[in-house]
Subunit: 146 residues, 4 copies
Amino acid sequence: VPGQPFTWTIRVYYEDTDTGGIVYYANYLKFFERARTEWLRTAGFGQRAMLQDLGLQFVVAGIECDFRRPARLDDLIEIDVRIARAGRVSFEFVQTARCGDEVVATARVRVGCIDNERLEPAAVPPAMLAALKSLPIAAEPKNQST
Amino acid sequence: VPGQPFTWTIRVYYEDTDTGGIVYYANYLKFFERARTEWLRTAGFGQRAMLQDLGLQFVVAGIECDFRRPARLDDLIEIDVRIARAGRVSFEFVQTARCGDEVVATARVRVGCIDNERLEPAAVPPAMLAALKSLPIAAEPKNQST
Amino acid sequence: VPGQPFTWTIRVYYEDTDTGGIVYYANYLKFFERARTEWLRTAGFGQRAMLQDLGLQFVVAGIECDFRRPARLDDLIEIDVRIARAGRVSFEFVQTARCGDEVVATARVRVGCIDNERLEPAAVPPAMLAALKSLPIAAEPKNQST
Amino acid sequence: VPGQPFTWTIRVYYEDTDTGGIVYYANYLKFFERARTEWLRTAGFGQRAMLQDLGLQFVVAGIECDFRRPARLDDLIEIDVRIARAGRVSFEFVQTARCGDEVVATARVRVGCIDNERLEPAAVPPAMLAALKSLPIAAEPKNQST
């Protein structure tokens, strides 16, 4: 749906929880990444092909996460993907994880594109940059994300 | 489909791979469990409800896995769930992970039902035992699983 | 050593890496936590005892991480633990992960103390608060951490 | 100590547990591997060097695990490494995980040596094969391991 953020739904399994009875917080980084990966796939880009054909790889350069409420075993978590900035060699996603009507976690994720051989910054392929710019724009100003 | 094993499809993400370029073998145990969990859910049983309402929990008592071929980033892995034995307090699944036409891994998993308070074996609820017995029967004799 | 930050050394295993050949970024959150846990243990506090005896649990409320350089299989990563703020119900750590002389990642971690029954903020036990205040103070001003 | 199995001690962190309050069973595969890796390192062999210098990699071909008793947050788990078979291109470890005097899990692990380019079985380097043969021999006959 144009104007709507891409969303991806994740089920919470035993593997995702900890002895506190809730989703272990580091696992939200995996959930956020799964949603970005599936958005990229929907937009026509697979990361294995990108690596093999173009020698390019995305790396996470930084992340800010707030963990607001606990999620539990068997919960369904809906993750969205919006864009805050799309530059020539890097970009920034803003994402929210919801369980029903409640926000359980939010993230701001800086991603860089690198040449896999030289391990140096490389230009994001033009078609991908266009796709990134078509994502809904994150409304929150940066200084409220934490 | 009656007579057909339940199957669940899993996408391979970065989080699942290791520096050898393939799915890290311990992660297949998570994949096999996701398929068992989703079969159980399809059959009408959620493990969180089971724990809260009945005080019962399933624990894996033993596992035999063969890792036959590597799977890689972006692969789709199809996991099936069949039954080898359904007893009063424990049961045994036989599962296969396929990537396209190739078997990538197989597992035989022994699961016990325990009372969550006393941490002692407990009877599988009758409706669940009936569901387990409705699963396709694993064809392989036990002594070929390894 | 008084005035020196507590450090904890972590070896990189296959389980920590991904198909890009480097440590998967979400795993740094685990490494940072292991160092905080071991500092807490050295200071005389175990989290299982804290949960069982006092009904208190620490939860991570937010995290900011920068991933600066890749670490690889077999690398030794040294993690330090410093304090940025020690309040009545929450506190904030600043941590650095080094591989040899190079900084591979940094983190600012907000941790809250909660009552495990009511899942509401609870006062950090006085002895633990004193221990937190004895940690070396993080030099970086907050607005440079990202 | 000659004749004594190599042992490696692992601390249980939040990351290792699940909502059942115990160590998530798939994580024992990581613990067993850490002990094998550290034994290999003690014997003078690093896996990254092996990959870079010799183009050789070890892959787990199969595993049998029994999970006998639960381990919990903050527990110390001692893992040993013994050998059941050391062949030209593959070998088999037998390992036990103990918490205090209690056996919490056992494993039989089949490992193959492969050429990283051709992804085909390759001969274990002679010095490493000699080291493998110097490990204490697993007493249990194979057919009792499950």
